[in-house]
Symmetry: C2
Subunit: 623 residues, 2 copies
């Protein structure tokens, strides 16, 4: 535990370092470790696409540990070109565990290469290799080519074991929401991490390893794992809904709650929800044989899908689509063609694009078109009105290539809407496009959006769980009382979950005590449930401090688009609602120990972050 | 007359030279001049995508001369990466005349730049400028951006006068049939000249000029022009068919002749021809207002189209499609969706692809798919069976980006078919995909294909004119007698037409004497009709000599795919026919004064090409 490789792309040199015990204890791994490294080593004011930005690839202490449920994940941490915030993106599949088997907890990628390169990680050794021949290749092609060319070095039989994370043309073209893809269809999607790799001319990381991670206390581990698995098996979401219908199970649920954002958040009810539902996907599109191959390493839930469209003109096949993707290309654009949604999704995976930001931004364009803000010539005859299925597919191509209007879409919803004179239609927080829940019908979720350090995100504190799904128990979604403390609690625990790393879908059944048990058993260091929360709180404060130094983050950024604060939901079960952010924000700051959206010296010192407090003080940024 | 700029992209230096009177007299301009420069300066064995290849951009003595009908053209000459032959590609629009107004007859582009550059040609001065910001941009976007950034240098009012030729993403990605585009929708399409620019990192040439070319003998000129215009006005093709229906008028005509190549030349009858006809295009798709803007400089024919597709899912608009394009994406692939054909055509223009090779190669893929030669995974679920409209659009994107199977398509039909184990289905001559006429029903046209120096081409000797259209008079298309001499005559006159440069569509009404008249009047040098033919013969022999030195061109290359030589046309008016090449080839060599497909010393000396004969002799390549 605690080994990292530092790769300088300018010099091509690789150095190996050990992480101090204390750092691991305080930051755990994954997101936490990445945030720590970024905060310590990178000037928060750095241009995210300049060589001085760094890109951290990290696993966590539970990643790849056999028995831990859904621990097949890895994290990318960098400063985002989309949001200018510190940013982590998590991804499943099989790449993360393989990196762990290679004996690396993290890779720090520094500077930029002049020529395209990839990293070849074999049993703990990292090599920088020429990738000129891979530049321009799409994601699937890149993975196939790398496996093919590396096969002789590991033997034909082992070639299948090589795992690849890479960027596609979108990352090369510095699309602000380009993803890092791994195992072909898995995405560290949000925030444009793919563009950061692209700016560094880093095309891919290929990895193979043979060391299985050790468990410090096997007996305690066994007990913890049995308990966790039992809970997962008894939980209706992790044992039934997700395996059967995948994340797309949410389409009908969220629509029935009246919070499925439709036509760029103009309403929360999408009449054609059933046509794009998980139920229909499972019945008509899923290839159940190939679906099994898509499941993440060591996951008992298995929510992954593999689908196929056989009906012209959107024929294709591939991994996904997830709920968020179906929403982004579907309800958000008013499109009811599940075929076109699937096709757009396949192309995002192949070209390396975040499906949420992509679909969301197409919806933004459609609203701009409806408003008459987009000159006719810019569209070159494409029907980009609400509900146009062909717009989904064509705009994915155009964005990845920055062709025509795609050059504007590639900058994300906020810059697009600003360019065409209507920034108010950008449904973003800190420049990141909001995902698939209209917060007007879920007050806590609205607060979570507004205070998300990485910008508009459902994964920092998935308040949909208590507010809509009733897990662990149902709370009144229209009320604001008690929500600030809940959001803080969810944000903190989630930050640790992203550091362990286990999949957030386990949190429908597991919580701090379960994670504390497993983490203690694996590392041999005792963590209590409250330690789990404190680690997360530390991460959340560190992130916010980074943002404060980056762009003066604070109260004015802890907000939502006016539409969600001022325009009542026009119909459905959430009719008449707006997000009552004012009722929650001060209370949120109080429970956080923040002032006006910024961490105080007291809070930072309490979390062992005096060095961060001193930096803020030096720059006059302490509240 | 006779001024050229020599641009070295490695050093960024520009030199200006004068062409000797003698060179102009012998090679005229355009294609002829380019061939002369290539033959004199470039090793015929050069790798076409290496810095040592050169790219010549040339106008001709009639280009941009007010009054000359259809003289808005320019030529690109280089060694083709598709065919390894010497290769010229001609294009209309407005770029050619503007280059002439800038006082340049040619630009020789040498070596390669390290960073993307463009050339800014202003009133005779050429400047090499950084084009990093343009790299990756599509054709339309590039032209708009260049005009925008150059506007301050010429004044807002004059910005519209700036003309641009450029490559799109396809050229940057070295697609073997990437085009050089100008005036957005005009293509120097065939042979991959766009890839040559891409390999040199030359993104564009922008030009503005103010010198109108002078006419040496105004009275004689006036007389010649009036006569030519009169002939054009009285000709049914140039006065009626082309203005009314564009080149697409040919769809029904050629189908009725039973020589519309269908499903990769498996038959010559396409049942859905009417659905993709020029008549339907004119009635349902053409935007007549915008059509007027598309017409080439100084053209009384005006065959250009501007069309719009309003029906989902292929919504779009743009220049074209031409007859060849409609055929390539339509009959060749078995697709009857004129909407999909138009859309694929728009995208080719925007991405910088030759529509003939693109559509043709998709047809090749479809035959390979039908044969079961293409692994399922390679298609990623795309329906690539005969007639699939979505395949057209997706494969254009994929080819331009070299994404997935597009990486194979980007290599052209021959390499594609070879990779998938069936080279015999590549319907090519010298590696260039055959265009829109099945030669089994037109013997002379078959000989023209087989002996085309630049590979499969309908424009070296458009035998369709006498053999099908009856211009200047009808000859029996199924007979071989007399065809060799006719083909030679057509090849030679056409080579001069490409050097003047006037549009080949004038040749439906005009011929050697008309061109001799106009050329003599403009230059003041007397050319007889037979001089016109001799210039062309010189060019044709020079080209062949280049090819002989490049790859040993000769009899074994003067052939056609076996399907056309051995498999009788299965149905329709040409039923039972094959190309009887054996009956024509020896006679062709005799009238050419060649032996086994190679120019003899005698012929070369007769044409004033002793220096070429000596080179061939030195290398043991004289027959």
């Amino acid at each position: 535990m605690g080994r990292l490789a530092r790769v300088n792309l300018w010099s091509g040199k690789v150095r190996y370092e050990s992480l101090p015990e204390e750092v691991l204890r305080k930051w755990v791994g994954g997101r936490g470790l990445g945030v720590y490294i970024m905060l310590r080593e990178v000037d928060p004011r750095v241009d995210p696409l300049s060589p001085s930005n760094k890109a951290v690839v990290a696993t966590g202490p539970l990643t790849g540990v056999a028995g831990v449920p859904s621990a097949g994940r890895w994290a990318s941490v960098t400063k985002s070109p989309l949001t200018n915030t510190i940013h982590d993106s998590q991804s499943g599949g099989k790449f993360g565990p393989e990196l762990k088997f290679a004996g690396l907890d993290a890779i720090i990628i520094e500077d930029s290469s002049e020529k395209p390169v990839y990293l070849w990680v074999k049993d703990g050794r990292v090599e920088v290799r020429d990738a000129t021949h891979l530049w321009g290749k799409d994601v699937h092609h890149t993975e196939d080519m790398l496996r093919e060319e590396l096969a002789p070095e590991v033997g034909r039989d082992e070639a299948g074991k090589i795992k690849v994370a890479c960027i596609g043309p979108a990352g090369e073209h510095l699309v602000k929401f380009a993803a890092i893809m791994n195992d072909k269809n898995r995405a560290a999607g949000r925030g444009g991490h793919g563009a950061v790799w692209g700016s560094k001319k880093l095309k891919a990381i290929a990895v193979i390893g043979h060391d299985k991670p050790k468990v410090a206390k096997p007996d305690r581990f066994k007990e913890a794992v049995v308990k966790a698995m039992d809970k997962l098996k008894k939980n209706s979401v992790t044992a039934e809904a997700l395996p059967k219908l995948g994340t797309a199970v949410l389409v009908n649920i969220i629509n029935k709650a009246g919070i499925l954002p439709t036509k760029n958040f103009s309403t929360g009810v999408f009449p054609a929800a059933d046509t794009i539902s998980g139920e229909r996907l499972a019945k008509e599109f899923v290839d159940w044989e190939k679906q099994r191959e898509e499941i993440c390493w060591g996951c008992p839930i298995g929510c992954a899908r593999y689908t196929r469209v056989e009906k012209s003109p959107f024929t294709g096949e591939g991994g996904g689509p997830e709920y968020e993707t179906i929403w982004a290309f579907g309800a958000q654009t008013g499109t009811d063609s599940l075929e076109a949604i699937c096709k757009a999704n396949y192309l995002c995976n192949e070209l390396g694009l975040d499906t949420i930001s992509m679909g969301h931004t197409i919806g933004t364009l459609m609203e701009l078109v409806e408003m008459g803000k987009v000159p006719k010539e810019a569209l070159r005859g494409l029907n980009a009105k609400w509900g146009s299925p062909e717009a989904l597919v064509e705009l994915v191509w155009r964005t990845a290539m920055r062709s025509g209007i795609g050059d504007d879409l590639a900058e994300g919803a906020l810059r697009l809407a600003t360019k065409y004179g209507a920034p108010e239609v950008a449904m973003v927080v800190r420049g990141q496009e909001l995902p698939a829940y209209d917060p007007r019908g879920v007050q806590g979720h609205g607060l979570a959006y507004a205070t998300s350090n990485r910008g508009g995100c459902h994964l920092r504190a998935y308040m949909i769980s208590p507010e809509v799904l009733g897990l662990p128990q149902l709370v009144d979604r229209f009320k604001t009382e008690g929500k600030p403390a809940m959001v803080k609690h969810f944000q903190d625990v989630s930050a640790t979950v992203d550091s362990l790393i286990v999949c957030k879908f386990t949190t429908f059944a597991l919580w701090a005590e379960d994670f504390a048990d497993m983490l203690s058993a694996v590392t041999g260091v005792d963590y209590s449930p409250s330690d789990i929360e404190v680690v997360g709180e530390r991460i959340y404060n560190a992130e916010r401090a980074f943002n404060v130094m980056s762009f003066g983050d604070g109260r004015e950024y802890d907000t939502l688009p006016k539409r969600l604060l001022e325009v009542p939901m026009p119909e459905g079960p959430a009719k008449g609602q707006v997000v009552k952010l004012d009722e929650m924000l001060d209370e949120y700051y109080r429970v956080r120990g923040w002032k006006d959206g910024r961490p105080t010296r007291e809070k930072l010192e309490e979390l062992g972050l005096r060095w961060v407090a001193e930096r803020l003080a030096e720059e006059g940024l302490l509240p």
